[in-house]
């Protein structure tokens, strides 16, 4: 019997046009948490899909418990006790928690009717063992994302799971919820379950993992003990080069007030929000997910209408009724969900970038393909978008490069105020550093940037001033130079939870 529960040797997977995995190896011990890291497009997701039987590998072998297995079907993976929870949960929102847990292996009588009491009791037990008090009869859709993840875990437990794969589990969670998830993961480990953790957050890895494996460009780079490798080396392995200055220093001059928000309110979402944004400033809006941050910037950029308060643009009160009007004033929004709100995925990079200001590239009434191409090329070079040409579709790009295309859209117009909603969410380390650099360059040119972020190191190192929101209201505004992770965190905590 080897020391490993799972061994994957020389796995290769080929898709039309790309080699998604190239001779990749991976080992997993019983009862360990093993982090799998790498930039977007490194092959992590494909690897997981091979392990769960969604994709059939074109080469290599999978050895589970000392026996070679053919993993050609998701059902085989389930039979061997391999389960995965994804960032985008695959649940039935209109069914109850218990129904979701036992979906596909319902407890039934001989007449094929469901034994409800038994089902609910079993669900109750599973949830109890995870330390949760969710009711088995609650409707799935009424739960928070964190609770839904828990149900997914309970579902996996109900099928005698021995390996759990967590794909970006904390991406949609607040800090407190993340910590609860850490506790549950540790509990599962102590029960002897092995966990494969995929995350862009180093924090997740340091909090949980025993070992870490890095993939880069579809290849296996190495496996280390988490305690045996420092952060800089790890980042270097992930990116393939060293990043000296992760957070570039800014030396932009803070100028006149560009935008002022006074007692801005929208009933049911936020109230009495006031702050000022200056030329050359990066102002960060932070707080827990759901504190009303996105709603505030959506109101400023004309997507929704305020119910009270006012917005002053360069000292003059304005009413912004639509994104079109906001853009005419020079306010551009980088939305939270770049795929659904920021991009036309089947369109080319060039067409995406030029659309907001497309009239500028016309000669007479006709569009000019030449000028549009020139504009696309300009930003592809300036922002170092990694693609073979500006004709590549947006859907073919990695998350980081997609984000750079959305940033280009904002810059191609005549915006002076940029609102960036979670600009580095789901973006790999290399592109993250580049996005920070771009932000610094822009402030030096006099842009004002209003950024929403949940990542504390980013909040503290990138911004000049920090607006912390709590339950729809501004809790405090702190200059970044005086802020610490603890002070920002506690200012964002709901009041009744403090003590």
């Amino acid at each position: 019997m080897s020391e490993y529960l799972l061994e994957m040797r020389n796995i290769t997977k080929i898709f039309p046009g790309v080699r998604a995995l190239d001779n990749v190896s991976f080992t997993l011990k019983k009862g360990e948490i093993h982090a799998l890291m790498g930039e977007n497009g490194a092959g992590k997701s494909t690897f997981i899909k091979v392990l769960t039987g969604v994709h059939r590998p074109d080469g290599g072998e999978i050895i589970l418990d000392g026996k070679k297995i053919e993993m050609h079907d998701p059902l085989v993976a389930a039979k061997h006790g391999i389960a995965a929870i994804y960032q985008h949960l695959a649940l039935y929102p209109d069914l109850t928690v218990a129904e979701n847990i036992f979906m596909g292996h319902e407890k039934m009588t001989k007449m094929k009717s469901i034994k409800w009491r038994e089902t609910n009791n079993a669900a109750r037990e599973l949830l109890d063992s995870l330390g949760s008090n969710i009711s088995p009869t609650d409707r799935m859709g009424s739960l928070s994302v964190a609770q839904q993840q828990l149900v997914e875990i309970a579902k996996a437990l109900s099928q005698n799971m021995q390996i759990l794969i967590m794909d970006e589990p904390t991406a949609a969670l607040s800090r407190r919820e993340s910590e609860e998830l850490y506790a549950i993961a540790s509990k599962l480990r102590d029960r002897g379950i092995s966990i494969i953790l995929i995350s862009h957050r180093f924090e997740d890895m340091y909090n949980l993992a025993d070992r870490v494996t890095v993939f880069r460009d579809a290849q296996y780079i190495g496996t280390w003990d988490v305690n045996g490798i420092d952060n800089a080396t790890l980042v270097k392995h992930m990116v393939g080069r060293s990043i000296d200055q992760f957070f570039p220093k800014g030396n932009a001059k803070i100028g006149e007030t560009l935008l002022e928000v006074k007692n801005l309110s929208r009933t049911g979402y936020f109230a009495d929000v006031s702050f000022k944004l200056h030329e050359g400033e990066i102002l960060c809006l932070t707080g827990l997910v759901g504190a009303g941050r996105t709603e505030v910037v959506e109101t400023i950029s004309g997507i929704t209408k305020p119910t009270g308060g006012e917005i002053l643009f360069k000292g003059k009160p304005v009413r912004i009724q639509s994104p079109n009007q906001a853009m005419k004033m020079g306010i551009g929004l980088l939305p939270e969900d770049r795929q659904k709100q920021g991009l036309f995925l089947p369109w080319s990079i060039m067409d995406n970038i030029t659309l907001p200001a497309i009239d500028r590239f016309a000669s007479g009434i006709f569009r000019s393909g030449k000028r549009e191409r020139a504009e696309g090329e300009k930003y592809k070079d300036a922002l170092r978008i990694r693609a073979t040409s500006v004709d590549d579709t947006a859907s073919s790009l990695s998350g980081g490069n997609q984000q750079k295309v959305v940033v280009s859209k904002l810059l191609s117009g005549s915006n002076r105020i940029l609102i960036l909603d979670e600009p580095t969410k789901g973006v790999d380390v290399g592109s993250k550093a580049q996005i920070y650099e771009i932000m610094r360059n822009l402030t030096e040119q006099g842009f004002g940037i209003l950024m929403i972020s949940s990542e504390l190191p980013e909040v503290i190192n990138m911004s000049d001033n920090i607006v912390v929101m709590r339950e729809g209201r501004v809790s405090t505004i702190i200059p970044a130079s005086e802020a610490t992770q603890e002070s920002v965190l506690s200012a964002g905590m709901p009041l009744e939870k403090q003590a």
Binding site: T12, I14, F15, P16, G17, D58, G59, I303, S322, P323, N324, A326, M327, K328, L333, P335, K340, Q341, G342, L343, F344, L345, P346, W347, D351, L355, P356, I358, D359, F361, A362, I365, F366, R367, K409, G413
Partner: protein, 361 residues
Amino acid sequence: MKTIKKIFLRWEWLLILLTVGVFFFFNDLNPKAYTLPKLMGQTRVYMVDVGFMALGALLILLLGDIDISVASTAGLAATIMGITYRAGAPFWLALIAAVAVGAVCGLINGLLVTGFKELFPMIITLSTQTIYRGINYIILKDKSVGSFPEWFGNLGYDTVRDAWFAEEMPGWVAGSPEWIQWIYNFVGDFPVMLLCLLAVFPFFFVWIHKTPGGKRIFATGENIVTARYSGIRTDRMKITLFTLNGILAAVGGIFLAARTGAVKYTHANGYEMQAIAVAVLGGASTAGGKGSVVGILLSLILMTCLKNGLNIVYNDSFIMNLSVGALLILVVLLPNIGQYISDYWRVLKRRKEAAQKASPK
């Protein structure tokens, strides 16, 4: 290389290929009745009125919406034209009234679609369809309205030869080589109605494919949220295009009235589905963001060739409709099947390569 491949993989080539195939098939079956000049005459029946509505359907499908009230709009517009003229107004005023009615019907659709986003445009226009048709019935009951000015009746039947050419072939043509005479006759066979339709196409082509405004229509249909976030006034665009669609429907209804000579409350019944079928066959996607003006034109020509051929051979409208339906679903499925096959080959090839690479060890 890549661009050349792109040009040859265009949808339009398939339509041209099919049209040529259909033409020679029926021409072979029935060389006397199925000829180019006769087909040209049949464009009045199969191409012109549907053509205007198909252009409208393209606009709406580009947005990712659908409008099934256009036939009722066309009917109502023609009826208003008829009763305005009967009431003693000059005919130009009747025409303006008809177009205005079309615009109002379209505007109402646009306002409803943008005002009640939770309702499918299909449901909204399903109800306006019956409402517009209902109003039409209240106005006309089971009577018909007709006796339009003579020139309007002629519009429905005249060819270029009838309208503008001299009785006899002019001397300079008669004395020219044969191919010039052929062109002279070919142009002479054009129905005036068809010329009116063809005159509209260049404008639509330039607008949709060559101007920033056209690009914004594609953007809105591709992803309305991104479009709005990119500064496009999506509601205003939808209202405008629905209104324009209503106007095009009215124009289609007017040309149909020129051909039929009288308007009943069932005027243009069933044309909405024909228009959508033409647009989809022409490459428009019901999911929005895809379609082309050239595709519409080619699809209209193909439909004319096919329907006329079927009509001559079988003289049965049920067989005609059945065949058109079968063609539609076949052609629309074709790219999916093609994609499936090409993907399969590529993976197979790669696998072979990988196996060869691995084996020498």
